[in-house]
């Protein structure tokens, strides 16, 4: 019984990317025993939550949501996280960097350039081990950084949480080999093939709510190495780093100590999408101090198990 109406054959790139990501979500849920979805409160992980809804509703998510909390997050983001998880009715696990510090697992950096960014790795790996997770779903994208361009969608980590770029499994068609041994785990990146612009377009299309810091707002900031940072208790300023008020928005929401703001008046999704489409600087180049340190910075961190 075939009806005569012509089906809608044209799929937009967002439809195609969404279909791929939903397929990946379902595949990992089916093939792995204890997955967890990593949620940072950022736009990429907010998109992941929507994709999980698309993959599993009206059922529950077959995995909990985990936030690695540096203790230095923007308060708006934490408030957003709790509200969003409650709306979804899903389970939240918080892995706390502060706890790792208190338990002596890591040592806090000091001084004006101290950041808890590096410390997250230990907290994350400890949590993966403690909960015996065999898969961690992340929102990383291949356009973010050069070493990511070659990373697989199902990306393996050994017992030490390390990524070995030389020993990656070939990834053919949409046939993912998700097999892991005990102690190993796999990072799964459903939006690997998305760009920053795709993410923003998807946020606009799906009318996803984002934490307010993504839109232009007035904030106390200070300038360091040519970038703007939020003035807050968690970052020690040098004597020359006078705070001032500016109209800014954030392109990513990392730890307050290393996430830079851009000057912007884009206050709506439409305006942000337009601004991103016209932008001439990469997200990381513009706003992530941690990647500026060295050309191979990201690759080094990933080898030791960073997100």
């Amino acid at each position: 019984m075939t009806s005569s109406t012509q089906p809608q054959l044209h799929l937009s790139h967002l439809d195609a990317l969404e279909a791929e990501a939903v397929h990946i979500m379902r595949e990992l849920a089916a093939e792995l025993e204890r997955p967890v979805l990593l949620f940072s409160g950022g736009k990429d992980s907010i998109v992941l939550l929507r994709l999980a809804e698309k993959a599993f509703r009206p059922g529950r998510f077959p995995f909990p949501i985990m936030h690695v909390d540096t203790g230095h997050n923007f308060p708006e983001v934490i408030e957003f996280r709790d509200r969003r998880v409650a709306e979804l009715g899903e389970t939240l696990v918080v892995a706390s960097v502060q706890e790792s510090i208190d338990r002596g697992r890591v040592v806090e950096e000091t001084g004006p350039r101290a950041s808890r960014n590096q410390l997250q790795t230990t907290t994350l790996l400890d949590a993966i081990e403690e909960h015996r997770f065999d898969a961690a779903i992340g929102g990383a994208r291949r356009d973010e950084e050069r070493s990511r361009a070659k990373e697989r969608i199902f990306s393996f980590r050994d017992d030490f949480g390390q990524w070995n770029p030389r020993a990656q499994r070939p990834e053919l068609w949409s046939l993912y080999n998700a097999r892991v041994r005990r102690g190993e785990h796999v990072r799964v990146f459903p939006i690997s093939n998305w760009t920053e612009l795709d993410v923003w377009q998807y946020v606009a299309r799906e009318q996803l709510e984002l934490p307010g810091i993504y839109f232009s707002h007035e904030r106390e900031v200070f300038r360091r190495d040519g970038m703007l940072y939020a003035a807050s208790d968690v970052v020690e300023r040098l004597p020359t780093e006078e705070p001032f008020t500016a109209s800014v928005r954030f392109r990513t929401v990392g730890d307050m100590s290393c996430t830079g703001a851009v000057e912007s008046t884009a206050a709506t999704l439409e305006e942000v999408v337009a601004e991103i489409a016209a932008t001439r600087v990469t997200e990381r180049g513009e706003t992530r101090a941690d990647d500026r340190v060295s050309e191979a910075a990201m690759e080094d961190r990933k080898r030791v198990g960073y997100f």
Partner: protein, 423 residues
């Protein structure tokens, strides 16, 4: 550009291949640069690096190099994925290394590609590598192949030279059964016929490389005739509100799916009808590849992950034995009687390799019968016996239900890519 327009562009996946030094990195850099995808910080970075290396110009090839080890050796050794867009399309590019020892990487990049862009050096014409790259494009059934005849500046932009190479390429494509093939004369270094046209080659009246990529017709590449739906996941909320809900979630692999369609559940062979085609956002009139949807069935049957829903009038073969072309991807050679796992769509079954029927001599493209083993990067034809049945189509008819990977359970490695020839 209006936001709505930006949001409705079509996704095109392409793979690029070429021998070392044919100019592939330069070409990709040129595509990114001339479509204005290069950000200021990236450009600054390659300007500094070019200077440091003593290049006399901004080396666009540097935009696409990847991992540290590769940077040190100055070569590309793994597939790198990149994106760029124009107002007409959003491109997903798999940049595959060219050398014969990386055949498996090109196969990987080619597996999902709609278009292959194969580099040819205008001074050299068709060489062994060109034949190999074209062969892989044909075996992986990439629907469209574009030969980018590069370094035209080094042959004085000569029309006759290009015509000669085009003719050779056409013969090659015919022989390999490549359906849609076209050649473009370019200079990646100078940018001729890549994104913009070429003053130096006024005789070329056809489209530039980018124009080709923007206009190649993709809708016909999907199989819309034979309904196929591998069940990935069963949605059973068992909540108050959705008490009896049972939905089969998956990605459409063929045909057009609508409520009311007759269905056979394979391999069991049970029959029923589609009650609804829907997503988390609500019901759909119809679903086509590659949409991810949920299908509900009229009858309460025993259906689970690994089952295939299909059109009972045009079913796939259900079989425990099949012949496939495989590309061997492991350092350890494949010998007859090897025990492996075959993963096809959402089903994994144990498999025993029977006879190795042939292996391709990659230099001559001739089949060599009954090899003793397949080595890393070899492409050959094998017989597989399966512990349980699979529902398969020939790869030529369906690039999803005709594809499989082989996994070695002792190492968990993916050791081969397989394309079903007959079942």
């Amino acid at each position: 550009m209006a936001t709505e327009q930006l949001m409705s562009t079509e996704l095109l996946r392409l793979v690029t291949a070429g021998s070392v030094d044919d100019g592939k990195s330069t070409l990709i850099g040129r595509l990114l640069y001339d479509t204005k995808q290069i950000m200021v910080d990236q450009l600054e970075h390659i300007e500094t690096t070019s200077k440091r290396r003593g290049d006399g110009y901004v080396n666009l090839a540097l935009l696409t190099d990847g991992l540290r080890a590769e940077r040190e050796q100055g070569i590309t050794i793994d597939v790198a994925y990149r994106s760029f867009f124009t107002s007409r399309r959003r491109f997903q590019l798999a940049d595959a290394p060219g050398h014969v020892q990386y055949t498996r990487n090109m196969v990987t990049g080619a597996s999902t590609a709609d278009v292959a862009v194969i580099l040819v050096d205008a001074r050299k014409g068709v060489v062994e590598q060109t034949r190999r790259h074209s062969y892989i494009a044909a075996v992986l059934a990439i629907p469209h192949v574009v030969f980018a005849v590069n370094k035209m500046d080094l042959v004085d932009f000569d029309e006759a030279r290009f015509a000669e190479i085009s003719e050779e390429l056409r013969e090659l494509a015919d022989r390999l059964g490549i359906g849609d093939e076209v050649a473009v004369p370019i200079s990646a270094l100078r940018g001729d016929n890549v994104v913009d046209g070429s003053d130096a080659m006024p005789w070329h009246t056809g489209p530039t490389l980018l124009e080709l990529l923007e206009t190649v017709e993709l809708t016909g590449d999907r199989n819309l005739d034979d309904r196929r739906f591998p069940v990935q996941w069963v949605i059973r909320p068992m909540s108050e509100e959705h008490h009896d809900y049972r939905g089969y979630a998956g990605q459409v692999a063929g045909g057009v799916w609508r409520a009311g369609d007759e269905v056979v559940v394979l391999p069991a062979g049970l029959r029923t009808r589609v009650a609804a085609v829907e997503t988390a956002d609500g019901p759909l009139d119809a679903a086509v590849p590659p949409q991810s949807v949920t299908i509900r069935l009229e009858d309460d049957l025993d259906v689970g992950r690994g089952d295939l829903l299909a059109d009972p009038e045009r079913p796939p073969a259900v079989t425990q034995e099949l012949t496939a072309t495989i590309c061997w991807m492991s350092e350890r050679p494949l010998a007859p009687r090897a025990r492996l796992v075959a993963k096809q769509t959402t089903r994994s079954v144990r498999a025993i390799v029977g006879e190795l029927e042939s292996v391709v001599d990659i230099r001559t493209l001739a089949d060599v019968a009954t090899p003793e083993r397949l080595d890393l990067n070899d492409i050959g034809r094998v017989r597989l016996r399966l512990a349980e049945p699979l529902a398969v189509d020939p790869y030529a008819a369906n690039r999803t239900t005709g594809a499989l990977i082989l996994i070695d359970e002792s190492t968990n490695e993916t050791v081969a890519a397989g394309m079903v020839l007959e079942a």
